[in-house]
Amino acid sequence: MAKRNVVLAIIILLAALLPSAGCGDKSAVVQGVFARDGIAIVGATTSEENPREVILKVDDRPKPTKWQKHGKVILLMEPWQAGSSYEVLVDGMSWRGMAPLNPMPLKVSAEELGSLEETPSVKEWTPAVYEDVAVSPDGKYVGVASFDRNVYLYDDKGQKLWQSRIANGVGVAVAFSADGSRLFVGESSPDANIYAFDTFSGKTVWQHAFAADIGSSSAPRWNQRPKITGLIAAGSRVIASAEYTQRVAEKDGAGTKVKHVTACVVKAFDSQTGAVIWRYPQTGAMDTGVSRMTASADGGKLVFANHSWSKGREYVDGALRILDGATGRLIGLHRLAPRHFSYVGIFDGIHLSPNGNYLAVITADSRGMLFDVSGVTAEAAGRGDGFRLLWLRQISKIHQVGGVPVYAYGNTARTTDDGRVFFMTGGTFLADKTASTGAPPIVHPDATSLFAYSADGGLLWKWQTEGGISKLRFSRDSRYLILPVYHNYVTGQNDRAGLYCLDLAKSGGDPLVWFYQFEGVAVAAAIAGDGTAIAGLEVPLRRADDRQAGRHRLHILR
């Protein structure tokens, strides 16, 4: 009898727990986010209709406020104060919170993208996956050139609008036109096409193949094929650079000599029609690659640097070139000589201020410099160099340790209209990281650091992170920096991988506004010109035990 009671009790307990486990839908929790432009309430409404009533209380006192509905998020346009208590009631559902010191990112969506053929490993120093994301100037659209061979367009609510497959190629660069009506994608493929998609319909409006200029190849790896290396929208034009390095075997007397020949060209197209406006060089191709391209806001000047491991003959490694944005004519040329290593190595470390007056450059050996290039104009072309060096700093010191150079390479440069400069260094290298495969057991004290300099070259502040850094993106006014970070190959950890948002205008304290951690690693990010919408690409990481952390996702934040 007693046994039967115990059994009965257990059954009833389970029966009681089952409904109680389902009771109270814990996932439908109202959350509030203290975002940059107000207080966002998430989870208070699930329908597309507007709520009937939204009430705001600040420190328990009602306060009238304006609000907008953004998908399922209600955004109260309320400049909140750190330390104040806020309560929001939406149709009776309540949320209460105390404002923090810094704003938080508002998670709009995290959409899964296609599967990847390869993924980065925690043991390797590169992210292995090369893809790009862009946000339209008005912040309404997000375009992705994905490593899964697709081009995606999402709206700022995280809704996929269209998707297009790149047959037999992979997108490696993406940019919106200045008016947002076109989405440009550059690919790595035997043709090295640039595609112009109509943003709204997803149709390919025009495309142009660079293979005729630089050569073609069916090499299996994307980085061995002809590819678009840079895309920049300037006014009514879009400018693209394409590069291909191939192995050429030539007869040399009785034998054969193997050479590795680079061909690179830059072309400007009409954004709407795809007509080629100009080509640089006008004939032939450069025998070195080019760095990222940077232009003044009016598109009048376009700047890039030549880079190559093997110096080049005509277009020497380390040459800074300014072209007239309208005609493609070379109007300024300045040559930097290698100092610590046999090459200069400018990749992403070049930027022209929006007003076209200042040029910031950082080389692979961490020499950072600021030039005044206001004198470089189409009219003054041919009358001297035009580059006036304002200052030069060794941003990160190269440690010579028993003949081995230990340094943090110069990664990115950014300058503002008033001449302030930001430099970012990369990870720790022992001479050339690609020449060894293991992670160095030491971290250079200036590795993965952001340096802020005044116009006269004085260091304002320095901020450091861990992990490898991908392409940095700045808001149009250079106030906000979005930094995608992948895994730390020295420690073998990825806990600091994700998106970092820094406020570069902060005069004191930590410039970090927020950190949004990814489960995997971040390989690319973008921010709208006005700083509202932010997008980041996450890829899964293979850990030391070969298990994967994370997924291939597009994160959209505000």
């Binding site: 490993s121 060894s436 951690q517």
Partner: protein
């Protein structure tokens, strides 16, 4: 229902309700919090799907909020400024709506406003910052001063270099002066920005073995309001090269390995295989890209052991040298833009006390100086930043070129099969007219016997053996597959010593195999075609199909050898066909084992066949 049962029910409902109301929201998430320079790290015992973390103080005042992306994580960094000796509450919101709170007390002591680190040799992270170096060697010491605060600070650095250490070169930022027999290196710097650092490297020469020199660094700091000092030191012990070398040694050198150090069992150890552009591509002038000169073509793994009680940082260099001259071999020279133009690969590794670690060094190939042959891979190790080489090890390596072997052989097989089949189709009437009806029947019946005594048992037995022994089943099925088969083939050749008889028997066998077992695959057709061509050739050359002959011991041995070789060739070609057409992989040693066993089985079968054939010939002529 009795009163007791109602009471029990009531208690159960209260308990369940209490669990739901009080305990249902917060979940038992375990972990701890570690405070550091940039904030705090939440370390969870198990990965959790945390979507947000809010940090508050004891009074509930907010300090930081972190919003996290979807997914699970075990470590969450929180970037915040913390005060020493305070309690903080980390409230984690889980993805399913639940929450968990971790409370943690920050360390009592604030982090130094300005930190001073002295490491000698460079890079060591031990408590003292010092280490052991070989006598008379040049080492690099590293001094790092970091301003952790917002306010600017004037720093005056003094490094005292004791007797027993000699400064090789004074860094540009420091000034040298002597005081009471000690060399003092002095410098002054203003650190105005937060996280700004002042970093100097000193090149020092160590003294004789057995000496302990204490390198001291002191810092005088002035922020305009207060004045304070900091100091650090590093003890540099000197020992003989032999003593240190005895503790730090190269335990193993392996090449080739892959980029993360795995050995490829299919690759022969010490043999570096260079893959030139495909021969077919060269013939057709194809452009497939090819390997670029700054990508490694192979890797070597060097394992370093540390038998000492201290962690060491070692520099490992891998040089491929010409064994005759001892100089760096031009074939393997690292591209000039890499590794500071040294021409060889190197890397740095930390080896813990009584432990070992491996470094993977890339090997490059200079196609313009390519010379296949024997070289020496020389691994050298030294304490990082110290000039003296402590240990070295040589490994013989050989450079060979790889070809598209499986594909070419398969193409050859296809060509032979096509030509053979085409010829047979074209000359079918004439070929068959050479045989009388009786002979055709004999061949047919021999084919049937072969099918019954070879194909059928082999198919059944092979399947069973394959389940248990997998690819090693050839050791058991070889008796049917080769011995009996070749006995029958050779005996048919003895009964009907005419070219074409064997081919016809193989065709009959192939048709039967297709009819009964459904084996109508291109690989099998290729395989039978090759067997027919090779056997006809071998038997003709040995005279077996050029008319009746007497079987002496020599002839038997010749036939056994010929058939054995045919089996070797056809088995090898079959493997190549399977690897190409069916994308299968087989290790070289496995192919070798199958071929070797097959040769033995076949030769035995052929020898038996000679005897069998001789007996049957007498029956046939009866």
């Amino acid at each position: 229902m009795g009163r007791g049962k109602w009471l029990l029910l009531l208690i159960i409902f209260i308990a369940a309700g209490g669990w739901f109301i009080l305990g249902g929201e917060e979940q038992g998430v375990e972990g701890n919090v570690r405070f550091g320079r940039q904030g705090a790290d939440i370390c969870l015992a198990e990965p959790q799907a945390v979507s947000r973390v809010a940090v508050s103080g004891e009074g509930g005042q907010p300090f930081a909020v972190a919003v996290l992306g979807p997914g699970v994580r075990q470590k969450i960094p929180i970037f915040m400024n913390w005060e020493p000796g305070r309690k903080y509450y980390f409230t984690m919101t889980l993805a399913d709506g639940g929450s968990a709170v971790l409370a943690a007390q920050s360390p009592d002591e604030r982090l130094d406003r300005v930190s001073l680190k002295l490491r000698a040799p460079y890079g060591l992270s031990g408590k003292d910052g010092g280490g052991v170096v070989p006598e008379d060697s040049v080492l690099t010491a590293d001094v790092l001063v970091t301003n952790n605060a917002e306010q600017p600070v004037e720093a005056t650095l003094v490094i005292a270099v004791p007797a027993g250490l000699e400064v090789v070169a004074v860094p540009d930022g420091l000034r040298a002066e002597r005081s009471d027999g000690t060399l003092l290196l002095t410098g002054r710097r203003r650190l105005s920005a937060r996280n700004e650092l002042w970093n100097e490297q000193l090149q020092l020469r160590a003294g004789k073995a057995g000496t302990n020199a204490v390198l001291q660094a002191s810092l005088v700091l002035d922020d305009g309001r207060s004045h304070w000092r900091q100091a650090s030191q590093a003890t540099i012990q000197t020992a003989t090269t032999a003593a240190i070398g005895g503790k730090i040694r190269i335990a193993a050198v392996e090449a080739p390995v892959d980029s993360i150090g795995r050995v490829d069992p299919k690759a022969q150890s010490g043999v570096l295989v260079y893959a030139p552009p495909s021969l077919l591509s060269n013939i057709w002038g194809a452009q497939t890209g090819g390997r670029l000169d700054d990508e490694p073509f192979a890797y070597a793994r060097v394992t370093i052991s540390n038998d000492g009680d201290e962690q060491v940082l070692v520099l490992v260099a891998g040089k491929v040298v010409d064994p005759a001259t001892g100089e760096l071999a031009a074939t393997y020279r690292v591209p000039p833009h890499k590794n500071d133009g040294k021409g060889y690969s190197y890397d740095v590794a930390a080896v813990g006390p009584r432990g070992s670690t491996s470094v993977i060094l890339p090997l490059y190939l200079n196609e313009n100086s390519l010379l296949a042959g024997n070289y020496v891979f020389r691994a050298e190790t030294a304490i990082f930043g110290v000039s003296q080489v402590l240990a070295g090890a040589d490994r013989q390596v050989q450079l060979v070129a790889r070809s598209d072997r499986p594909l070419l052989i398969t193409l050859l097989m296809a060509l032979i099969a096509l030509v053979g089949t085409g010829w047979l189709m074209w000359r079918q009437e004439a070929a068959l007219a050479r045989f009388s009806t009786k002979e055709l029947v004999i061949i047919s019946l021999f084919g049937t016997v072969t099918f019954v005594t070879v194909n059928m048992p082999q198919t059944i037995l092979w399947d069973i053996a394959h389940v248990v022994f997998g690819p090693f089943s050839f050791l058991f099925t070889g008796f049917f597959g080769q011995t009996v088969l070749y006995a029958l083939i050779v005996s048919l050749a003895a009964v009907l010593p005419r070219p074409g008889a064997i081919t016809l028997m193989i065709v009959v066998r192939m048709i039967l195999n297709g009819f009964i077992f459904g084996h109508f695959t291109p690989v099998q057709i290729l395989s039978y075609a090759m067997l027919a061509v090779c056997l006809e050739g071998a038997l003709y050359l040995t005279g077996a199909t050029r008319g009746p002959r007497k079987d002496g011991l020599g002839r038997v041995a010749l036939l056994a050898l010929a058939c054995g070789l045919v089996d070797v060739v056809t088995t090898y070609m079959n493997f190549m066909a399977y690897m190409t057409l069916y994308r299968l992989y087989y290790a070289d040693w496995y192919i070798g084992a199958v071929i070797a066993a097959g040769f033995v089985y076949t030769a035995a079968g052929a020898a038996i066949g000679c005897r069998l054939g001789g007996t049957l010939r007498r029956t046939a002529t009866d």
